[in-house]
């Protein structure tokens, strides 16, 4: 299926009433007509020709005809709890949140505690920018129903499915817990000073630097069999703190990940073993960078390479996909 579209082609899709999830460079959203679409900024993709940075085309996920109706809603950071109130009766909700916004932080810290979170599939991604523009451009989302951009709000397309189908979210994560130290944290958060390593309190910055740990290996928690990554953003040498791309949580044991020898090869094998035809997927910009995926394919699954993936909760270095199942 085609993924990259010109502006004229996207306008045609919108005007014919298609339900669309759009990912593109932030400069491309202006001038599109109102319709059933939501978008987020990002110029990195896994497409037909493999990983690529593309700034003049739109990566469009055209939702299939099993999607009966859609409702587009925008949520401020203090309205995130309303998302689950707006879940479809039988469907799936697609969410995009701008990276580094207050909404991004609040979502990551709190979403797991929302009682109805798991009652319907909630999937999506964190929008970003070209890595050369990190200091000068803000990631945005775009509401196709109102044509409003936002660098603060979350945008959600709640999709009602044909009664004969159900949606299911799954992930492909090549990282597994290594057999090294067990690491716990006394506080939740994206910025870490202290950790409990095998029960002993240490400065986490000192721990990582003394052991010469590669920041490309995420921390991995075991969520009842699902491997959930937290990726390292940077070491703050002055403050001796560790900055992360997702929060760690108290009372959750983490381990450093095992190394992935050949991401392209192992990922393709894993995708093929799942035998899925997703209606939507995304993967992580860190996998794109660390596994040097430019020009390389990861099986037949395509999508934006994002600043964070959402499968109910915020994930890092993980591929997320949604497929439809006949009931």
């Amino acid at each position: 299926m085609k993924n990259f579209y010109s502006k004229e082609e996207v306008i045609d899709l919108i005007n014919t009433g298609k339900n669309l999830l759009i990912a593109a460079d932030e400069a491309l959203f202006k001038g599109l007509p109102k319709g059933n679409w939501i978008a987020g900024s990002i110029p990195y993709f896994m497409g037909d020709e493999g990983g690529a940075c593309i700034r003049d085309k739109y990566f469009v996920t055209v939702l299939p005809t099993e999607c009966k109706s859609v409702s587009i809603k925008q949520y401020k950071s203090n309205e995130l709890e309303k998302i689950t109130d707006d879940y479809p009766k039988n469907g799936v909700s697609f969410i995009i949140i701008p990276a580094t916004s207050e909404t991004h932080i609040k979502y990551a810290n709190e979403i797991m505690t929302y009682p109805s979170l798991f009652n319907s599939p909630l999937v999506g991604w964190i929008s970003g920018v070209h890595l050369d523009d990190l200091a000068s451009v803000k990631p945005i989302i775009f509401n196709g129903a109102t044509l409003e951009p936002s660098s603060e709000d979350a945008i959600v397309m709640h999709v009602e499915l044909d009664d004969a189908y159900a949606a299911q979210i799954e992930i492909i994560n090549l990282f597994k817990q290594g057999d090294g130290d067990t690491i716990e944290f006394p506080n939740d958060g994206f910025v870490i000073d202290n950790a409990l390593v095998n029960g002993e309190s240490v400065n986490f910055y000192d721990y990582l630097t003394s052991k010469n740990i590669s920041l490309e290996q995420p921390l991995v928690a075991d969520y009842s069999g699902a491997m959930i990554n937290v990726s390292f953003q940077a070491l703050d040498h002055e403050a001796k703190k560790v900055n992360l791309y997702a929060p760690v949580f108290q009372n959750t044991p983490y381990k450093l990940a095992t190394q992935v020898a050949n991401y392209e090869k192992e990922f393709t094998a894993e995708v093929n073993s799942h035998n899925v035809s997703p209606i939507y997927s995304c993967n992580c910009i860190l996998n794109y960078l660390y596994a040097e995926l430019e020009g390389k394919k990861t099986g037949e699954i395509k999508g934006p390479m994002t600043f964070g993936e959402i499968a109910y909760v915020l994930l890092n270095q993980t591929m997320v996909y949604v497929s439809l199942k006949k009931k």
Binding site: S224, A226, F249, A311
Partner: protein, 72 residues
């Protein structure tokens, strides 16, 4: 068929220390949340955990029937 919320299965499930081999990502995450909540064992939290588990299986039964069979 999802057991009613008053069925003892739910209290047993939320208090379980067992490691289930769930197949569905959503069930794995939901169960992790339940285990986090149940570190504080009091009646109100247990009731909330039962609500979450029951509601989860009821709303998602078309994709989690196999996982439900594991806890019955």
């Amino acid at each position: 068929m999802v057991p009613t919320k008053t069925d003892p299965i739910w209290k047993k499930f939320v208090n379980s220390e067992q490691e289930y081999s769930f197949s569905c990502l959503a069930t794995k995450m939901m169960y992790t949340r339940i285990k986090q909540m149940m570190r504080n064992k009091d009646a109100a939290i247990e009731a909330e955990a039962v609500d979450i588990a029951h509601s989860f299986f009821e709303k998602n039964i078309n994709i989690v029937q196999a996982d439900l069979n594991l806890i019955k």
